[in-house]
């Protein structure tokens, strides 16, 4: 039976392994025909949503991998606004509002509030948490 899944990522790409696990889990769920209702990035997890990372070429690029998976599977990748602002993750509008000289939100991500996580908890059949 195909289900609707919500994913919560509470950890950045270089803290430990949670973002990697969440990514592989999301990919496997899509391959099995499940719907990913939303991936919500909270706390240090918002660091998955910057397009300014340049890891070595022979290293995995998790931020890029999320963006590519989002484009391919039409994923809704949501970054928590309060967590993002603390960590310097800004979209064009937020960068302008705070007088910053650039924005860095990666393609496929959008900035929104905690209500999006609550909604995922209500609407999705299962909510799976990945963190440290």
């Amino acid at each position: 039976m195909e289900l609707k899944l919500g994913i919560l990522v509470n950890e950045g790409p270089y803290t430990h392994q949670a973002s990697d696990t969440a990514y592989h889990f999301t990919k496997a769920a899509l391959e099995k025909g499940h719907e990913i209702f939303r991936v919500f990035f909270y706390h240090d997890g918002v660091n998955n949503g910057t397009r300014f990372t340049v890891p070595p070429q022979d290293d995995r690029n998790l931020q890029k991998a999320w963006s590519e998976l989002a484009a391919k599977a039409k994923l809704d990748l949501v970054v928590c606004i309060a967590a993002a602002q603390r960590r310097g993750i800004l979209d064009t509008g937020e960068a302008k509002r705070h007088g910053k000289d650039s924005d860095n939100l990666a393609p496929g991500f959008r900035i929104s509030g905690l209500g999006q996580l609550v909604e995922a908890g209500i609407v999705a059949d299962r909510l799976v948490t990945f963190g440290d």
């Binding site: 039976m1 289900l3 899944l5 889990f25 496997a28 769920a29 391959e31 799976v128 948490t129």
Partner: protein, 102 residues
């Protein structure tokens, strides 16, 4: 209403693994992922507790994380089943909820 419990920390690093075992109900499932797979190693000081849990609950280990840490399948406690990421997804959808012990 069975619950899937995911554990991602070694029992020798944090108390979350032991805490999870204390909260397991009969019929629940336990999945060791990330550093949690260290707890699956047989003959360790922790193995007895996991083997006891395996009598009333199903116990799973994420194979790729086990391999990444150099733990061979033959060194895993009796009663634990290896799964891949697809198996992880099946465990999530096959249980009413997933509790992540972080």
């Amino acid at each position: 209403m069975p619950t899937l419990h995911t554990i991602n920390k070694s029992p020798f690093e944090r108390s979350s693994f032991a805490s999870a075992l204390n909260h397991l109900l009969p019929g629940d499932a336990l999945l060791m992922i990330e550093d949690g797979v260290v707890g699956a190693r047989k003959s360790s000081a922790f193995a007895g507790r996991l083997e006891a849990a395996a009598k009333t609950c199903r116990v799973y280990v994420l194979g790729p994380d086990l391999a990444a840490r150099g733990i061979a399948e033959k060194d895993v406690v009796a009663g634990a089943t290896l799964v891949d990421y697809g198996g992880f997804v099946d465990l999530v959808t096959g249980h009413d909820r997933t509790q992540a012990w972080l």
